[in-house]
């Protein structure tokens, strides 16, 4: 295992992280604006982006805080939004499970959606030694995480001066759809994606996060079932 492979994996990761800046930056800005308009001070807004580092859950929490919801409900709702992170964690085990504990802990902290998506795509496409896989993961996170902190701060500082016409709300859907396209590689992938989308819309009335969890579990089973069916036919 040479250092140069590890270095080039980090560089590959860094380069593949860069496009996500186009969505991370507006999303961070939007969180800063929404957080400060909700009445949080700059340190608290930054506390969210630094400690929680999960945009969708942060928005959920702040929204419920402005409605003066009970603390327990705020925590339950925001953590439910993040249940998908446990699925990410499980799916990373075959690739990163053998890494030292501190690297797994750091990877866990950094496993925001975009870092996870870029890394798992790479792991499924090519076989690499463990240090290269870890380096790629940290490489993707390297440009994204500092910009997430920075744009959150900028949004909190600028506040209401960010115009609504920027339609920042749609940065989140665009980032997930952009990650989805390249991942639709085979029939089982497409089938799983369709089940997930349909189920999530049908279950949209359930508390945030629960519908997604059920939809995702059904989609996992669909993907595995279609794959098994294909193997039997072949």
């Amino acid at each position: 295992m040479s250092t140069s492979t590890t270095k080039s994996a980090f560089r590959d990761g860094f380069l593949q992280g860069l496009p996500f800046l186009l969505v991370i930056a507006p999303f961070g800005l939007l969180f800063g604006v929404v957080g400060s308009e909700a009445g949080l001070n700059v340190a608290q807004v930054m506390g969210f982006s630094f400690l929680v580092i999960a945009g969708a859950a942060q928005f959920t929490a702040v929204q419920l805080m402005t409605e003066n919801a009970p603390v327990i409900l705020i925590l339950a709702a925001a953590l439910t939004v993040n249940l998908r992170m446990a699925m990410y964690s499980a799916s990373l085990v075959p690739y990163l499970g053998a890494a030292p504990l501190w690297q797994r802990a750091l990877a866990a902290y950094l496993s925001v959606d975009q870092v996870y998506a870029a890394s798992i795509l790479r792991y499924q496409e090519r076989t690499e030694p463990l240090p290269a896989r870890i380096a790629f993961f940290f490489g993707v996170a390297a440009p994204l995480v500092p910009v997430w902190y920075g744009t959150t701060w900028a949004g909190a500082a600028l506040g209401a001066q960010v115009p609504e016409a920027m339609a920042l709300d749609f940065a989140l859907p665009i980032t997930f759809l952009a990650m989805l396209g390249p991942a639709l590689r085979t029939l089982p992938h497409v089938a799983a994606a369709m089940v997930s989308a349909v189920m999530a819309v049908v279950l949209a009335g359930l508390p945030t996060g629960i519908g997604l969890l059920i939809a995702a579990l059904c989609a996992l089973l669909t993907g595995a079932a279609v794959e098994t069916w294909q193997e039997r036919r072949a």
Binding site: Q16, P19, F20, A38, L40, L51, V52, I53, A54, A56, A61, M65, V71, L75, L79, N82, R84, A86, M87, Y88, S89, A90, S91, L92, V93, G97, R104, A107, A108, Y116, A117, A167, F170, L172, P173, I174, F176, L177, A178, M179, L180, G181, P182, A183, V190, A193, V195, S196, A197, V198, A200, V201, A204, A215, A216, L217, A219, L220, G223, A224
Partner: protein
């Protein structure tokens, strides 16, 4: 909002710890013990099982328009996905989505 500074920080720290524990869960506890083949087969589909479910409700009823489907946002969603599938490039997909969104918002103004 009517929370004290202490309560706000309590919420932030609790969410931070809870989110980290979910991210660390399997990666931290299972480590390099082998997973059963069926579980591995299921987990292969994690990204395509999560992303569409996360995004579909946001596309069908965006909060910014009060929940009514919006032509600019729908078209941007289709453009992002289509370009992502065709080019296999996240960058082109994002650019296509952003261009469609801003172009149509401006045209339909």
């Amino acid at each position: 909002m009517s929370f004290s500074d202490g309560q706000i920080w309590g919420i932030i720290v609790a969410l931070g710890v809870g989110t980290f524990l979910m991210r660390f869960s399997f990666l931290g506890l299972i480590g390099d013990r082998p997973l059963p083949p069926f579980v591995l087969k299921l987990l292969r589909y994690t990204p395509v099982a999560v992303f569409p479910g996360l995004v579909a409700p946001l596309v069908m009823s965006p909060a910014a328009t009060g929940g009514t489907p919006d032509p600019a946002r729908l078209a941007a969603a289709v453009a992002t996905l289509a370009v992502g599938v065709l080019t296999r490039s996240v960058l082109w997909a994002i650019l296509a989505g952003a261009a469609t969104l801003y172009g149509l918002l401006w045209l339909l103004g």
